[in-house]
């Protein structure tokens, strides 16, 4: 709701600013930057296709009825709707690094201007003639490109504000080894992942969007559908998008990111969040780009046994001097609570660490806000297929519960998949439990699981299977099927 209000407010303010100020400046070339178009682009990039097209439609309609308008009603609505949708799709396909977002913004701005001219031509708008287009279009596109960073970035900032986070408080800050402690980092992880797009963080300023669920202290959502992705910023941990097909929950990675990881390893970089089992629904690669501190904090996802799949003993940056048991791959000291019936694909966020720390942080971690002096190290990785699953939204932790994971409102059924689970739980429902509250259309990206059943295929090797196996942690064909084929170009 807050986000909706933010979108509406930003659109109205920039629309009026556009008409009263920007269009009156006599800029070279005869064109003017289209702030409304850029807002639609930015909201599409951050909000996804649905939010993008809805924003575009209403913003375009507003521009069509705002007083000096003399064009046919609906022209801008049509164009901006398409542009918003395209931006949402493109952001899914390209990830959310700053460079790619800006690239998408540039392309979308140019496409929007061209599309508007085309629609005007088709409708026989007397103002839109070839000479006018030849003069106005290039300058408009150029000005759009020049202005786009100044619009897209504040919209992002405002989005993080609307999500209720001070920028960089959880995800960015803690991942950067800043002031927040491990627990906070876990929340960041949770939140970022819960945002459905599976990005661990962003630049600090961008962390607010995904961090929202994290604030709610749930490890919600597909931690995954995130593809480990090298981020540009030194202090950022990013889960690019990833994912797979609907319902898959992984910190997955597509081929590209795997290459990036390999490349980084080759360069001597540290791979901190190791790609995991690679199974759909499992943890996979993520990189942290900060230089390694003296004593990194490790978040290990791993387990000894198949099916255990804990997002394990998280040494989430306790205060200096405080040690937490390591041994991520070891047997859990306690029986994992969430272990699905043996070997079901779900895996669990279990293990000894299978309960959340106070405040619903990641298992094993405790909240030491402001105490981290070392950045995190995340090891995701089960050794085997089916392992290492930071599973779906089952992991939401009620805030403040001492063993949050143990007391969800509903019993989390991690992957009750019918088709794909290695061994499904008997009697598991066909539909995925949804643990996230739906908050309107603009919150849809946080709804990690679609209604469709996740499909985990065991078999079906594809031509990328070999490549996947050669990659770090890419051991099963499933990630590839999801991550590349369906996740990005579905």
């Amino acid at each position: 709701m807050r986000r909706l209000a933010l979108s509406a407010g930003v659109v109205v303010v920039l629309l009026v600013l556009q008409l009263t100020l920007v269009d009156r400046l006599s800029l070279p070339g005869g064109g003017a930057p289209d702030l409304v178009l850029l807002v639609v682009v930015a909201l599409g990039l951050t909000g996804g296709p649905v939010a993008g097209m809805l924003t575009g439609f209403w913003a375009g309609l507003a521009l069509d009825v705002a007083p000096p308008a003399s064009q046919v009603l609906g022209e801008h609505a049509l164009v901006f709707c398409v542009v918003g949708y395209g931006c949402g799709r493109l952001s899914m396909a390209t990830g959310r690094s700053a460079a790619s977002s800006l690239g998408v913004a540039v392309v979308a701005a140019a496409a929007g201007e061209a599309l508007y001219a085309a629609v005007g031509l088709m409708l026989g708008d007397p103002g839109v003639s070839w000479p006018a287009i030849r003069t106005v279009l290039p300058s408009s596109v150029l000005l759009d490109i020049l202005v786009s960073p100044f619009v897209v970035y504040p919209v992002w900032k405002a989005g993080s504000w609307a999500a209720g986070h001070s920028p960089g408080s959880a995800a960015g800050g803690s991942a950067a080894g800043g002031s927040a402690a491990g627990g906070s980092a876990a929340r960041a992880l949770a939140g970022a992942a819960g945002a459905g797009r599976g990005r661990l963080a962003g630049r600090p300023a961008l962390s607010g969007w995904p961090g929202r669920l994290g604030r709610a202290s749930r490890l919600a959502g597909l931690l995954g559908s995130g593809r480990g992705r090298k981020a540009g910023a030194a202090d950022s941990v990013r889960f690019g998008k990833a994912a797979a097909r609907q319902g898959d929950g992984w910190v997955g990675s597509g081929p590209r990111s795997m290459q990036a990881i390999r490349a980084q390893v080759r360069r001597g970089g540290r791979l901190r969040l190791r790609p995991g089992a690679g199974q759909a629904g499992s943890a996979a690669a993520v990189q942290v780009h900060r230089p390694l501190p003296a004593r990194p904090v490790s978040l290990r996802m791993g387990q000894g046994r198949r099916g255990d799949g804990k997002l394990g003993i998280a040494h989430l940056g306790g205060a200096p001097g405080q040690r937490y048991p390591r041994g991520a791959a070891g047997r859990p000291a306690r029986r994992p609570r969430f272990r699905p019936a043996g070997g079901s694909l779900g895996g669990s966020l279990g293990g000894a660490a299978g309960r959340a720390g106070p405040g619903g942080h990641l298992p094993g971690g405790q909240s030491h806000r402001g105490a981290v002096t070392r950045p995190l190290r995340l090891h995701l990785g089960g050794g085997r297929r089916g392992d290492g699953i930071v599973a779906g939204r089952a992991l939401r932790v009620p805030p403040g519960s001492a063993s949050g994971l143990g007391r969800p409102r509903r019993r989390p059924r991690l992957f009750p998949g019918r088709a794909g689970s290695l061994r499904g739980r008997p009697g598991s429902p066909r539909r995925q439990p949804r643990f996230t509250r739906r908050e309107g259309i603009f919150a849809r990206r946080e709804r990690s699981f679609p209604r469709r059943q996740p499909r985990f295929r065991r078999g079906r090797p594809s031509f990328l299977a070999g490549r996947a196996r050669s990659g770090a942690g890419g051991r099963s064909p499933a990630w590839r099927a999801g991550g590349w084929r369906s996740g990005r170009f579905r």
Binding site: S26, G30, A132
Partner: protein, 319 residues
């Protein structure tokens, strides 16, 4: 969210809605739902633009754009006055012969025939259209299809009115057609805008009925009369012919016209409120007697040192 069926459903719904709007507006722009929509948008965004204009005016002035109002209130007042005088002048320039006829016929001075509402440009159209928003609306008595001019000449005509703002289609918009009369020859024609980005930017295109009309650069145009003075009152100077275009074999003679008013940098403009139609006999009333004080003539006589001798002596010398 991903590209689910729902996403596509929403997308198709929105696209269909947009296309339906376009279709409705294309067929009949004054259809009831669209008119309501436009009025709603006009009132909401018009008010918002009015508010914003107060803030953005200094910025525009700083960038040397179309500075509305000039650097100060005095200048704004003076511009308003110039506009008003221009309207008066154009009324009086209205084809002197006709004017004399009218005067003789009806004994109408026409004083107070036009009322001017001064307004300021607060917003400029987005995209390819050439239109502006003024900060005067139906509350100020503005109605659609009223002439807008400024101190230099014709600006455009009002196309849409909300409570606090109105939209003016500039004469430079390709959609605007202004009926004109050549000041010298009295030829009748029309002027359309050329739109943004034309090579001769800011010029208007003149077409004169009658292929034999001899157009010369430098000829001036005024608006010709319209029915009920809508959308253009007669006699407003439009521009001057800057280039005559070859028109071999065409029915009309065309030329490019440079408008008197700088339509890219508009500030204070005046909206001509046509004489009220409620009292049609207003125009036939005799002129109201001017209470002008009679000038006092003061004759100062200076005693000359050479009273009447000098000139005659000179004359005698010349003789």
């Amino acid at each position: 969210m991903r590209d689910t069926r729902r996403t596509r459903l929403v997308l198709s719904i929105l696209l269909i809605a947009a296309l339906a709007l376009i279709t409705l507006d294309y067929r009949d722009g004054s259809a009831a739902p669209l008119r309501g929509l436009r009025q709603f948008g006009g009132s909401v965004f018009g008010s918002a633009e009015r508010g914003f204009a107060a803030v953005t005016q200094p910025v525009i002035r700083f960038f040397g754009g179309s500075a509305g109002g000039g650097p100060g209130p005095q200048v704004a007042a003076l511009e308003t006055q110039v506009t008003r005088l221009r309207a008066q002048l154009s009324r009086e320039q209205l084809s002197r012969a006709q004017y004399a006829q009218l005067r003789r016929l009806l004994q109408v001075a026409g004083r107070g025939g036009y009322r001017i509402v001064a307004a300021d440009v607060i917003a400029v159209g987005q995209g390819y259209s050439e239109s502006v928003t003024l900060d005067a609306g139906s509350q100020d008595g503005i109605r659609p299809q009223e002439t807008v001019l400024n101190g230099s000449g014709l600006v455009g005509t009002v196309t849409a009115v909300s409570a606090q703002a109105c939209t003016v289609l500039l004469a430079s918009d390709p959609a605007s057609v202004v009926g004109i009369q050549l000041a010298g020859s009295g030829q009748i024609g029309w002027v359309t805008g050329t739109g943004k980005g034309q090579a001769g930017s800011g010029l208007l295109k003149l077409q004169v009925l009658g292929s034999g009309a001899a157009l010369r650069p430098g000829e001036q145009l005024v608006t010709s009369a319209s029915v009920h003075d809508r959308p253009y009152v007669p006699g407003v100077p439009v521009g001057v012919i800057s280039k005559v275009q070859g028109s071999v074999g065409s029915l009309t003679t065309s030329a490019l016209v440079r408008p008197f008013a700088d339509l890219t940098a508009l500030g204070v403009v005046g909206i001509v409120i046509a004489p009220p139609r409620r009292n049609p006999r207003f125009s036939v009333l005799p002129p109201s007697p001017s209470a002008r004080p009679a000038p006092t003539v003061t004759v100062t006589v200076t005693p000359s040192p050479f009273p009447s001798g000098g000139p005659s002596a000179g004359a005698g010398r010349r003789r």
